[in-house]
Symmetry: C2
Subunit: 322 residues, 2 copies
Amino acid sequence: MIAISAFETIAEDLAQVEQKMRQSMVTPNKALSDVLACLLSSGGKRLRPALALLASRLGQAETGKALSLAGAVELLHTATLVHDDLIDNSLLRRGRVTLNAQWSSGATVLAGDLIFAQSASMAAETQNVRVIAIFAQTLVTICQGELSQLFSVPWRQQTKEDYYRRIYAKTASLFAAATEMGGILAGLPEIQVQALREYGRTLGMAFQIIDDVLDFVGDEGKIGKPVGGDLRQGIVTLPAMIYLCQAPQDEGVVDVLDRRGNQDGALTELVARIVESGAIQASYAEAEEFVRQGKDALLSLPAHPARAAMLEMADYVTARRT
Amino acid sequence: MIAISAFETIAEDLAQVEQKMRQSMVTPNKALSDVLACLLSSGGKRLRPALALLASRLGQAETGKALSLAGAVELLHTATLVHDDLIDNSLLRRGRVTLNAQWSSGATVLAGDLIFAQSASMAAETQNVRVIAIFAQTLVTICQGELSQLFSVPWRQQTKEDYYRRIYAKTASLFAAATEMGGILAGLPEIQVQALREYGRTLGMAFQIIDDVLDFVGDEGKIGKPVGGDLRQGIVTLPAMIYLCQAPQDEGVVDVLDRRGNQDGALTELVARIVESGAIQASYAEAEEFVRQGKDALLSLPAHPARAAMLEMADYVTARRT
């Protein structure tokens, strides 16, 4: 969790969400339950459940249902991380050893499936058919996005639109759904629900851009993984895309992305060139533009302490450095 | 699909379910969509959607919602098969090459996730909160069952109760949910819904026992995989359990299950001893007892053509030889 005042207003609710999630990881087998509980306790900022809770406070949501929604959203996120780390063969996340680094891939697949199942079950607790449908459709969007990436065009042909489509599916779709579903549970008028969705979407886009920027300039100790990881995996994110437009002739990019020659040395040098090129600042500017749009959308809603907290969270997203 | 007359009454509905499932596999990427469509067309008997459709006909279910339920149930089943085959490293299913035999494990994990997501989305189309909650909880049961197996006690300590718990989670829970959810959509009185659930559960138990029997006596060409596969994976099913009670001193069992010595030869001989021991007939008898219970439960419902079709399906389950 992060220490911004927006979180203070929902600290008690978030603590209850934590407890709900932990309870959902209890299985008849104690050893299994312990590993699953440990997986949840590895933290993360709980941004998504915080957004769902804040949006639900803008109207008359039943507290129990808002907690279920928040838990469902965070469990869905957790499940996708478990499978992503397995697929990418990542051994560390948030500075801690991943599940796939300790377990067989089979057990990791099943653990992710179980967390998906518990997230769907928690979403059903909202007893709101529209919320449940959005929840399921968001999971479809996330999975289609991940799969499309495996079938995607070569990096040379990828456009900024491809990048935005990708980060929408991967990240912004769940942010958008979290605030939209919170607004639905709150019983808000449709125009406000859609404004909340737009706020969530733009926040998610900004969040993922910053995540991608931190892959170049982050503190390895704090982000818990080495820099340049995306390029190492052949993934071109916004900073690299902006740099490529400026310096299409840079052969180092080809060396790294097409895995030619001494990649480790080439990678370190390429990261340095991208960082020095101004592509990082340009990426921040794009993230800030998304945040500005999101705050605009939010300002169409009536003033409310939860709205103030959400405006504050928007600023946090582009300010974060880990 | 199988050629029993119970299926004729719902043939048109089942054809629409097929179409719904195929449509749900369409993604923005054509190559990906083709593989997913191919995965669905690999057949299977469509028993689960047939049960859901028949149960929904016992009352006043809206056709569209019954079709969504049936599609959701079969997609959920398909998704679990995709992940199971990956985990077991199975290269064939129903005589066809599995997805994991063609794709990277990462792509296979994501394909299974996408099918889970589409199944949840189709379940949401029923717009029935109770149905959706049962659906999600069934997925929890299936995943917990699979995971528990990885954390289970050594084969020597496994009891028949462990076996029954396992096949309930793996198979019978979804059969039970299919008929229960059909009954709920039909708007039947609660006592009938529970009778339908019991019918589905017992049918599922019998179905899995027969599946496990066919792993010993099935026609390899028809079941699409070599016999003795469970023992080869160290899994003790009902026929082996019954045999072990009769012949606890058989060292060949230890050779196979603890992977000592020449396993291939030992496996072939052990399968032959189990088949000759009467354990197969005893297993059939247990399956038939489940079917008898299921038909009893069903007979508490008023006479109806769909009920007649379900009674017929019960007999089919123990009669099947592939």
